[in-house]
Structure formats: structure tokens, C-alpha cells
């Protein structure tokens, strides 16, 4: 089951802005290594889940994974061959708004080489380019 909020204030939301760089969630806080987004995108719940599963499979129950993004924005779409108007479309899925610099995942308790391999597999499932980062001085 894809990630989504349990309770929301409003059923649908406007598109909002994706300008600028990530002002929060842009440093490695919990683990030792992180996967950083280099471009802006709406990351869907399915994409996040695919990355999480791929990393866990690669690690084989070693280390600890932190997912730093959550799809809390409803994404709506009108059905095919429907004329414009008649209200906003139905909720199609949930997305996380990602700006450059955002840390997407963090790993700890494993060697750097293993973290690099796991993040490389996760990065191949991402719709944007990413970078491997480590805690502390960059």
C-alpha cells in the first residue's frame, strides 16, 4: 500500500510553488550517509516505496534506513476525454515536493561502500539526478 497521510485538512490541494532550493531537510541528520536530490520534482508515493524496497533488499536487513520525505500532497487528475470545467478532478495519488538539496534517504550502521551500492540502486529508480553525501564536512 503506497504511503499517504492518515488524516488531512482538505481533500484536494493547489499545485503550489517548486521554486528555490531546499531550505530544510538538506543535511544528513540521523544516519551517516544520505541521498540528495539535485533537481526539483513531485516524487510519488510509488517511487518512494520502490526506492525503499530496493534499498532494504540490497542491505539484507543490515544497517538502518531513514526515509526523509513523505508524500503529503494530493495529486488530482481529470479522466480521459472529459471536457474542461465541472470542477477539479479526482485524487490520483500522493506526492512529496522535492527541491534541489533535499535529503531523500539516510543510512547508518553500515560501511560506506555498502551504502553507496544501495543508494546507486535507489537512484536508478528516481526520476531526477541525485548525489551521495556523507555527514559532516562536505
Amino acid at each position: 500500500m503506497p504511503l499517504m497521510p492518515k488524516r488531512v485538512k482538505y481533500r484536494q490541494s493547489q499545485r503550489g510553488s517548486r521554486k528555490g532550493n531546499a531550505t530544510s531537510g538538506n543535511t544528513v541528520e540521523f544516519g551517516e550517509y544520505g541521498l540528495m536530490a539535485l533537481e526539483r520534482v513531485w516524487l510519488t508515493a510509488i517511487q518512494i516505496e520502490a526506492c525503499r524496497v530496493a534499498i532494504n533488499r540490497e542491505l539484507k536487513r543490515k544497517g538502518k534506513l531513514w526515509c526523509r520525505v513523505f508524500p503529503d500532497k494530493p495529486y488530482s487528475k481529470k479522466p480521459l476525454e472529459v471536457r474542461m470545467g465541472k470542477g477539479k478532478g479526482a485524487v490520483e495519488g500522493w506526492v512529496a515536493v522535492i527541491k534541489p538539496g533535499r535529503i531523500l534517504f539516510e543510512l547508518g550502521g553500515i560501511p560506506e561502500a555498502m551504502a553507496k551500492i544501495a543508494f546507486r540502486i535507489a537512484a536508478s529508480k528516481m526520476p531526477i539526478p541525485t548525489r551521495f553525501v556523507t555527514r559532516g564536512l562536505a
Binding site: 500500500m1 503506497p2 499517504m4 497521510p5 492518515k6 488524516r7 488531512v8 485538512k9 482538505y10 481533500r11 532550493n21 531546499a22 531550505t23 538538506n26 551517516e32 540528495m36 539535485l38 524496497v53 532494504n56 536487513r61 543490515k62 544497517g63 538502518k64 485524487v91 534541489p100 538539496g101 547508518g108 550502521g109 553525501v133 559532516g136 564536512l137 562536505a138
Partner: protein, 266 residues
Amino acid sequence: MKAVVLKAEPRTLKGKQPAGRIRRGGNVPGIVYGTEHATQLIQLNEHDLVQFLKGHTSEQFILDLEVTGSQACKALIKEIQRHPVSHRIIHVDLNAISMTRKLRIEVPIRLTGEPVGVAQQGGVLDHMVRAVLVECLPTDIPELFVLDVANLNIGDRLTVADVKVDKSKVTVLSAADLAIVAVAAPRAEEEVAPVAAEGAAAEPEVITAKKEEGEEGAAAEGAAGKEAGKKEAGAKDAGKAPAAAAPAAGAKPAAGAKAAEAPKKK
């Protein structure tokens, strides 16, 4: 802790655009302040600063700051601001300190060895606290605390009390029972969610629509009741359907009936 020399130049320009010009010129804008030091705007050579930081495990060390045209002073790096994507240094805050006054500072922790619980039992090393808050004179600041985790089994942990500190010089301010590192049991296999659950994945609860939902629910119930009534009526009609389907004598046949008869005429 060793003191190292850092050279800087005073700057008069301040604000967003002059700071941008300073950065494009290969320098980093910064500031020095302290209780016994007048606030001063400075700029440092970016390459020198990066090389300077590369040789240190943390950003907590005493600097001999030499600003051109001013007296040299001792300083600590208070904050380094970095660009979120490129990680280039964009600003440095330096805190001028007195060598005779105690200060509070976070000293980083480094772990050594591979825990038994990880190497042999398949556990997961969880490093929860990465720095310990201490109070000491600037001359007594430890560069880092080293913790040996080689003897940790699954379920074991090391706390702040396990950090070896020279208590005559350094006072630890972090709580003694604060866990620094622990070895957790290996993670359980992930449960694969049944496919049927995906279909049941309803929309999240809408907080603001509670009242409406209640009204709608009542209305829906009413509508459902009406529909049920209609269905029952429909069922009764269906019972009568065979009789109704047969057209009365002399009545006009339905279009479907015509279409069915058409091939027969040929």
C-alpha cells in the same frame, strides 16, 4: 587542542549583493564577535578556508585569527553556512573568546572497533548521539572523545557516563544516562501487504469535512433507502415484465422487435 592561524581581511561592504561579489571574487564573507571583542565584518580566502577545514575532524577548534590592521585574537568557529546543493561555504561566524573564561562546547564522539553484536550476531549499530556538551577552559577543549564499541552485544549500549573525561579539567553537561550508541537486534523480514488491501486503500480522513460527512451520511442513507425502495419496485416490475414484454394485440411493436423481424422479411 592545538591553536591554528587563520588570516582574514576586514570588509566594509555588507548586504546580499556585495556578499555575492565577495564570493565571486574567491572569498567568503564572515563576522567576528564576542563579549570582549567588538563586532567586526571580515572576509576570508575560500580556498585557504576549505584547506584549513579539511585537516580537522570537527569545526570545534581554537583559531588565532589575524585580521589585517587589527589585533590578533583567539576565536572559535560558531557556525559555517553552506549552500544546500553545492555545499560551498557562503558565510562564517567566528566567536572571539577569552582564554581565562570557561565556555560550553560540543565535542564530537568517534567510535572504534566493530561490535560483536554486529559482526557475529547480525545486529545493527545505532549511533544516536554524536557530540557531548562539555564546559571547560579553551585550553582544555578535547578534540574528540573516542569510544570503543568492540565489546557490545545485541541489547548493549554505551552512555555519556562511559566517556572517559579528565574531570579535573572538563565538566560534562550532557545527561549521564543519555545513550550514545546501542546495538539493536536485526530487523524483522518485511511483511508483504496483501493485494486486496490495496483495493481497500481508502482516501484519508478529511478533518474539516466531519460535519458534512455526517449530513452526507444521513442523506446518503436516505438516498440508499429510496434506491432500495426503487429496486424493490423494480423487482416487482420485473416480475410483471414477461406479461408487459408481450405487446398487446394491435399495439405498435418495439424498435428492437422490428430489427429482429427485418431479416425474416428478406
